[in-house]
């Protein structure tokens, strides 16, 4: 209905028109300052942009649609969280050991969401074009939503289980959490275009599926409905972020041919940096889900080899981009990665905020079926040996500190490409100092920007320099903010014992206590010992 009959009724704008009105029509050309003064960060990386209006968002997202759907996603999630908490849902998990994966998640991933929120907020001011500014703004708001919903989701478990109570401090201090932290710090301290390739393209597009999809499916299979729900809720934003990442790389490649070699180096660097961080996901998928869903090998083949190498990279070849250096090695390593990493955590879990144990025989059978080329031949004998030591009362923890790779900060446990039995070690000297690397690709990353990587905060070096609370392991763990039950062997741990107690109560039988004692005794834990 219109109040002015002489004027035809305004037609509702199409999605494309609304998007364009939002992202183009509210932009202006500065007149009091030059464009360079207004956007000071977008020229020093050598990237040439001729026409910012060529940036396109296939989602055609506008503010009203964005907030409407995000609010709906949150409503659904919080309904699940409430129901789960009220119904004592934590007791329906497959096993308390499952939560070790969540301890890694809240210490390793959630703080990255917050960092992403901060940096995308910054970029939403600093790109010259309104299209990428608005996309960065939406992603920034998404990321704070992810950080908040993850903390809310896991706070319910924190009431009952150890290892999560101090996640923000642990993220800054704990040795293995420096792996994801340093990865993100590396991206935050790069220029705006490199950040887009690092986080938008490499992390969100190439690798995010490996983190969220099979893992959240695992949460579903192990009774963790809240995590499944936040995971899929976050991942629905992720598909937008993937689109942004893909748009970013195509936009840079189309703008100027001189951008191609710069972007190729970033793709090489950030694939490898991201791939090394996903080593921890490999371990979670293969060893930390009491009911495993999909092996690392299978997810890597499906989500990386098939979808990215098979689908995406032929498209990027059109612009002169080849698959990242390091891809061949990553493909070869898929038979080894998770086994090496969990073995390392097994030996160092007295100093981690998680507990570990030798995988059960059933679980080892699953691993053997998932890894026919490597598990029985190489890794089962290692577990047999560790199990024997444990049974003899000599549970093995590594008594020293490991040598770390200067770039990925992971202990140097990775093999030479193609040689499962030989550890790879590479070195560079810079300004009279000696640096170690786990692979040719980490060494290449260092040699390309040594001034940057010599400044890395290396957890082991910091401990030796006396910067982490004191010279002994208990001093360091106190400085990490650990409490009793956060670390060590899983069997007999406070979470394990509580779990048996709570289930004895839930069973509500007169024999409940006896059953609990018998069950703990079967695990080799005395009740008196457990009560400590």
């Amino acid at each position: 209905m219109t109040t002015n009959p002489t004027k035809p009724a305004a037609k509702k704008l199409s999605m494309q028109q609304r998007y364009s009105a939002l992202t183009r029509d509210i932009d202006w050309t500065p007149s009091y300052v030059s464009e360079e003064e207004m956007y000071p960060h977008t020229s020093y990386e050598g990237i040439k942009i001729h026409d910012w209006s060529k940036w396109d968002d296939p989602f055609r997202l506008t503010v009203d649609a964005y907030y409407r759907y995000q609010a709906e996603k949150d409503k659904r999630l919080y309904a699940v969280l409430d129901g789960f908490a009220q119904g004592q849902g934590h007791l329906t998990l497959s096993d308390p050991a499952y939560l070790n994966a969540m301890k890694i998640f809240i210490g390793g991933v959630t703080p990255l969401e917050y960092q992403a929120n901060r940096h995308f907020a910054y970029l939403s001011r600093h790109f010259n074009g309104p299209g990428p500014r608005f996309a960065a703004l939406c992603q920034s708001v998404d990321e704070i939503r992810h950080a908040q919903t993850e903390i809310h989701t896991l706070s319910n478990y924190n009431k009952y289980y150890s290892g999560m109570h101090n996640f923000a401090k642990m993220h800054d201090r704990v040795w293995y959490l420096s792996v994801p932290k340093s990865y993100f710090d590396d991206a935050l301290s790069a220029g705006p275009f490199e950040f887009l390739i690092a986080i938008g393209f490499s992390f969100e597009y190439l690798l995010t599926n490996l983190l969220f999809v099979p893992f959240m499916s695992g949460a579903s299979f192990n009774g963790d409905l809240p995590t499944m729900t936040f995971g899929f809720s976050a991942q629905s934003d992720e598909s937008r972020h993937m689109t942004l990442g893909l748009e970013a790389i195509k936009f840079l490649l189309e703008q100027d041919e001189a951008n191609v070699p710069i972007v190729q180096e970033w793709v090489d660097k950030w694939f490898w940096r991201g791939y090394r961080v996903t080593a921890i996901i490999a371990m979670m998928l293969d060893y930390m889900l009491p009911r495993p869903v999909m092996s690392w090998k299978e997810s890597f083949e499906l989500y990386f080899e098939q979808q990215m190498l098979g689908g995406l990279f032929p498209d990027l070849a059109y612009y002169g981009i080849r698959p990242p250096a390091g891809v061949e090695q990553a493909i070869w390593e898929k038979d080894h990665l998770s086994h090496l990493v969990y073995n390392t955590f097994y030996q160092f879990s007295h100093a981690a905020n998680i507990t570990t144990s030798v995988p059960t025989q059933d679980h080892q059978q699953w691993l053997a079926a998932a890894y026919p080329d490597s598990f029985d031949a190489v890794y089962r004998p290692k577990w047999d040996k560790l199990e024997k030591m444990d049974a003899a009362g000599n549970r093995f923890f590594y008594p020293g500190l490991p040598q770390l790779c200067q770039v990925c900060q992971i202990p140097m446990v990775f093999p030479e490409h193609g040689q499962g039995d030989k550890i790879c070690e590479r070195h560079s000297d810079f300004n009279g100092e000696h640096f170690n690397f786990c692979s040719d690709h980490c060494k290449w990353i260092f040699d390309r920007e040594p001034e940057k990587y010599v400044q890395a905060w290396m957890p082991v070096h910091q401990i030796y320099q006396g910067a982490c609370g004191g010279p002994t392991i208990p001093d360091v763990l106190a400085w990490y903010g650990y409490a009793e039950g956060d670390s060590g062997e899983m069997v007999g741990n406070v979470d394990h014992v509580n779990w048996k107690k709570w289930h004895a109560q839930v069973d509500d039988s007169l024999a409940g206590r006896e059953q609990m004692e018998a069950s703990l005794a079967a695990d080799g834990v005395g009740v008196k010992e457990a009560a400590k």
Binding site: E72, K73, F221, M294
Partner: protein, 99 residues
């Protein structure tokens, strides 16, 4: 059409009651669809191209459905979003011409 056009595109959708109509609409409109179930989600894959039509979803849902609502259902995708307007969403590989 070139040989590369048969590279698989896919969407992973949360397997919920709300999404059943959407999944059925995609099944009906894409002849060579492969469907795989993973706990909590369903993976729909098609060679080269996958289309989601608003009208097909509405027919099965019994109410109006905006293509924006697809964002509530999707977990991840492989392929370019080559079209997204009021009436349909198309995923495909291949180089896109820019306007």
């Amino acid at each position: 059409m070139t040989a590369t056009d048969t590279r698989p595109v896919s969407v992973d959708i949360q397997e919920t009651e709300d999404n059943r109509a959407l999944i059925e609409a995609i099944e009906a409109d894409n002849e060579e669809l492969t469907i795989n179930h993973i706990p909590g989600l369903v993976k729909l894959q098609a060679p080269g191209r996958l289309v989601i039509n608003r009208a097909s979803v509405e027919e099965r849902l019994g109410r109006t459905w905006e293509t924006h609502e697809f964002q509530m259902a999707i977990v991840t995708l492989a392929g370019n979003i080559s079209e997204w307007d009021e009436d349909r969403i198309v995923l495909s590989w291949g180089h896109l011409a820019r306007d």
